[in-house]
């Protein structure tokens, strides 16, 4: 067990691993939904410590990665306008749109600013009343409530020069789409812990029952992931399929009721396209009618922009667990963090980036090409 000494509590890690090894009698495929979990798994070599019967499949849980190309293109178009201050989280800077990214727009003279919190963007709007301040509102259920609160505050404080380009996504419909696919191999889910910190676990029992699949709410620290795998494998070996919370220190069954109420007020559920995957019904949020004035797509008339995604990027298959990053022909050659074809290679939570950054130095792609990491 070559990586185990690096664990925070190597003794506990060893006990969890021993238990998993002792429990497994046949092959199981589990999907970790959260991109943070993927990075933790690859960074700590957890996939190599597990019994060979347990396969971890990387899921679509990187919000940057699943943001559709046409939304990026809308962002680039808005950010290029001279009257606009475009605010974004830092990990969107290098995500490729058609031909360029936000970093390049900035280089060409666009006023692109990185903020830590959406409230920072609101403050910039207050300080620059003669400019239009647009915040790029992407993310899952963890990020949507802060963004919802910011729109709510803009309305409450009467800040007219603030708007949001909204492309929020919801995890449960993605799980449903993955399970409903004929090519699905997933038999158990490690659900994303911080999404559940907000939403609770109420959306999962129906999915677990309908698809007869165990769903174990899991954190993203190495020991959390081992515990999540242990509980999922136990259920599978026993033929059970329940929702189990292995991250109770941060997840209450009801989630955060205040955040859920704000989500319901500011947003409404809509169909949403996922980059590389396509439209998943009811899988996103957009601003509700009450807050439509804060919709940057309308304000800047970019709602007509449509973009076709390049065929050579296979990130959609990676995001659905159908392809491992290094199995892609372009991995490490055409596609690197410096020359990314898709967001999975450039996002700090992307599966391709995780393989490129942390994966073993001797990684060889199926075509026999040596890949050197950028570190």
């Amino acid at each position: 067990m070559k990586y185990i000494d690096e664990f925070q509590d190597p003794e506990l890690a060893r006990r969890l691993l021993d238990d998993i090894h002792a429990t497994v009698t046949r092959p199981w495929a589990l999907m970790e939904v959260c991109g943070g979990q993927t990075h933790s798994i690859i960074r700590h070599g957890i996939d190599q410590l597990l019994p060979e019967e347990v396969e971890l499949i990387h899921g679509p849980g990187c919000p940057v990665c699943v943001t559709p190309l046409e939304v990026i293109d809308k962002a680039l178009e808005i950010a290029s306008r001279p009257e606009v201050i475009f605010c974004s989280f830092g990990d969107m800077l290098r995500v490729p749109g058609t031909g360029r990214d936000l970093f390049q727009v900035r280089g060409e003279g666009g006023d692109v600013r990185v903020v830590y919190s959406p409230l920072d963007a609101l403050r910039i709007a207050q300080q620059n009343p003669d400019r239009d301040v647009v915040f790029f509102g992407i993310g899952f259920e963890t990020t949507a409530p802060p963004n919802a609160m910011t729109v709510h505050q803009a309305r409450r404080l009467g800040i007219p020069n603030f708007s949001m380009l909204v492309s929020h996504v919801r995890v449960p419909p993605a799980i449903e789409a993955i399970m409903a696919s004929p090519s699905c191999r997933v038999q158990g889910f490690l659900a994303a812990g911080h999404v559940c910190s907000v939403m609770g676990v109420g959306e999962y029992p129906d999915l677990a029952e309908r698809f007869r699949v165990p769903i174990v709410v899991t954190g993203f620290e190495p020991l959390d992931i081992l515990e999540g795998v242990r509980r999922t494998v136990r259920q599978l070996e026993r033929g059970e399929h329940t929702v189990d919370n292995a991250y109770a220190r941060a997840v209450r069954p009801e989630g955060n009721p205040a955040a859920k109420a704000m989500l319901e007020d500011v947003f409404e559920i809509t169909d949403r396209a996922w980059r590389g995957i396509g439209v998943i019904p009811d899988s996103g949020w957009r601003l509700s009618a009450k807050y439509r004035d804060y919709d940057a797509e309308r304000r800047f008339s970019v709602d007509g922009i449509q973009t076709r995604e390049p065929a050579e990027c296979r990130s959609g298959e990676v995001l659905q667990g159908l392809l491992k990053p290094h199995e892609c022909e372009a991995f490490g050659t055409l596609c690197t963090p410096r020359t990314p074809l898709g967001a999975t290679m450039v996002s700090s939570e992307g599966a391709c980036a995780a393989y490129y950054l942390y994966r073993r130095l001797d990684l060889t792609t199926p075509a026999g090409r040596e890949v050197s990491p950028v570190v």
């Binding site: 907000v198 941060a250 209450r252």
Partner: protein, 106 residues
């Protein structure tokens, strides 16, 4: 971006009708909105994501997570200057006089 980091509340004040706190993330101090955890008190720990406290956390778990994040360089990733790595990946130099200044105080 999806990373949520535990932090300890240093002080609380009302601003523009909103409950805000100063929160310490293992040395990095930032402003955090408490509207989703309105009864959080000074000295308590919470999981914070993009400037919002989302769920309470016990002190021991919070400290362990913070230590791990610091070890893995994740705090730098979350709170550091994102222009530099973007410029490095782009093969150019970062913009001079950047506006993203992390609020750091030890």
């Amino acid at each position: 971006m999806c990373l949520a980091v535990p932090g300890r509340v240093l002080d609380i004040e009302e601003r523009d009708g909103t409950r805000m706190a100063t929160v310490d993330f293992g040395g990095v101090v930032k402003e955090v909105c408490l509207e989703y955890l309105p009864d959080l008190q000074v000295g308590e720990y919470a999981i914070v994501h993009v400037g919002f406290a989302l769920q309470r956390l016990d002190e021991e778990s919070a400290k362990r997570t913070l230590e791990l994040f610091a070890e893995l360089g994740l705090l730098q990733e979350e709170f550091g200057d994102p222009w530099e790595p973007a410029a490095e990946a782009d093969g150019t130099t970062p913009f001079a006089g950047e506006d993203f200044i992390p609020e750091v105080r030890k």
